[in-house]
């Protein structure tokens, strides 16, 4: 029992009391094999170019945040990496596997948390996880479901329909869904959007745990206040291109981003 993962709300409580410093992300020198490599990614929607010439390398253990205003291309970039949208040109390699040729091999390694919960509201929490587990052809599925429900603190609500869940509970279940199959890379699109303070704290704690295990997160946001304490890399997107890549202290990055936005606003006025 001692080895069981703690429910995220308990970990959040520890976090608030200032304990547990072991989950900070490792910022060790970059290993030789990148987790994700984007080469010259372009994406057109009709005559509109949503992404242009995106080159990016992401290493294991990176927590990379894509910053930018609405329409900068953050969500499109995540969708292209997740293969929800085909790039118009360019190449995406996940652990050196070309995603266009071996899509299923790559999909197993990805988890996606978005503003939408991706949950079926007329199914129970357990039925939702069972369904997604079957989609991923998981072995020992029932054990894994029990473990995951306990971990996100929904074991007692496992047989309730999702329709009756609060937004915070849905987000916890959404995280359970996205990580049920044990992905190495998590793509998150505005995951804090619409969450209350408690749910945001839970999500932050959980992201720290994920990074602490040497896994990788790419998160798109325009919110500079939420869950950024463990970020080690930043990419500022503007008009579908990476305008700047940054790393270092979140406070300084925040200032730089505000300045970046002021400069851009100036350029358009």
């Amino acid at each position: 029992m001692q080895n069981e993962p703690k429910p995220v709300w308990e970990a959040a409580a520890e976090d608030e009391s200032g304990s547990n410093g072991s989950m900070t992300p490792s910022h060790a020198p970059a290993p030789t094999t990148p987790v994700i490599r984007l080469e010259g990614i372009e994406k057109w929607f009709g005559n509109t170019r949503a992404l242009q010439g995106i080159n990016l390398v992401v290493w294991p253990g990176d927590f990379l945040v894509l910053l930018g205003r609405n329409g900068a291309g953050k969500s499109t970039l995540l969708r292209v990496i997740a293969r929800l949208a085909k790039p118009s040109s360019g190449r995406i390699l996940v652990r050196e596997i070309d995603i266009s040729r071996h899509t299923d091999q790559v999909r197993v390694q990805l988890g996606f948390v978005a503003h939408s919960s991706y949950l079926y509201s007329n199914l129970t929490a357990r039925e939702n996880l069972r369904f997604f587990g079957r989609m991923y052809q998981m072995e020992k599925l029932e054990e894994r479901i029990e473990e995951t429900l306990r971990w996100v603190g929904l074991d007692e609500s496992a047989d309730r329909r999702v329709r009756g869940f609060s937004r915070g509970m849905q987000q916890r279940l959404s995280i359970a869904r996205a990580t049920l199959h044990g992905p190495e890379i998590l793509l998150m699109d505005e995951p804090f959007s619409g969450l209350d303070l408690e749910a945001s704290a839970l999500l932050s704690t959980w992201m720290r745990e994920f990074i602490g295990r040497g896994k990788t997160i790419l998160m798109a946001t325009h919110d500079l206040e939420q869950g950024l304490a463990f970020v080690n890399r930043w990419a500022l997107l503007e008009k579908g291109t990476i305008a700047e890549e940054l790393s270092g202290d979140p406070g300084k990055i925040r200032e730089r981003y505000k300045q970046f936005l002021r400069e851009r606003r100036g350029a358009f006025s």
């Binding site: 999909r107 991706y118 369904f131 989609m135 052809q137």
Partner: protein, 226 residues
């Protein structure tokens, strides 16, 4: 193949569970179908000759319009929380999504049609019992074709601005050959003895089904992907 069938089974089971909890599709198909049969009955008050002549057409028009109400709901559950994207993110052959959805549509339509058929036989005074085998086979083949064409067209229309209107506009021209085959074979089956044309129209329906199950399987990736 086992993985593919497992995934088809999971999607089908999920849709069955959802439908039996909400009863959205089946209730609307049943109510609409019964109302149409009732209206046709009072509008025509058909004698046996007229029933033989117009009955199959009225029956399949009822099936089609009732079925479209159900088909419009095919991807409603997937749109609710952008769930379709979560399916697309999984290592799933997207053909499995199509087959799972198509089988769910087929099942719900057949359930509604069974009740409608029963009411049709009462209101139009048609004794279906001696031809039950033929009628069941024709109903299955016709509905399979509708479910298959309807499922891919529901996927096409789901992201359009007026998807409820778009589906019938896309579906009816495509379903026309199947409607023709189903009506003609039903008419042939209801004559005593069954007409010679029955064999031809049944083969016609089988060919339609082969085409409209194979084509969507090949095209479904393009329909889902941006």
């Amino acid at each position: 193949m086992v993985h593919f069938l497992n995934q088809v089974g999971a999607i089908l089971w999920k849709d069955i569970l959802t439908e039996f909890r909400t009863k959205d599709a089946i209730t609307s198909m049943l109510l609409f179908g019964l109302l149409v049969i009732l209206m046709f009955h009072f509008a025509f008050e058909p004698d046996s000759l007229e029933t033989e002549k117009y009955g199959p057409g009225l029956l399949w028009v009822t099936f089609i319009f009732a079925g479209m109400l159900g088909m419009n709901r095919t991807f409603a559950g997937e749109k609710e929380n952008d769930n379709l994207q979560s399916l697309m993110l999984a290592p799933v052959n997207w053909g499995a999504i199509f087959i799972g959805k198509m089988l769910a549509n087929l099942l719900f339509m057949l359930m509604a049609e069974t009740v409608i058929l029963f009411c049709f036989s009462i209101f139009f005074n048609v004794n279906l019992v001696p031809r039950l085998g033929w009628v069941a086979l024709i109903t299955f083949l016709g509905t399979l074709g509708f479910a298959s064409a309807g499922t891919i067209l529901a996927a096409v229309s789901m992201n359009t601005r007026m998807s409820d209107v778009m589906l019938p506009i896309l579906f009816l021209p495509v379903a026309l050959p199947a409607i023709l085959g189903a009506v003609e074979s039903t008419a042939a089956a209801l004559t005593d003895p069954p007409g010679e044309a029955l064999g031809f129209w049944l083969k016609f329906l089988v060919v339609y089904n082969i085409i409209f199950i194979t084509l969507p399987l090949l095209l479904f990736d393009y329909v889902l992907e941006e």
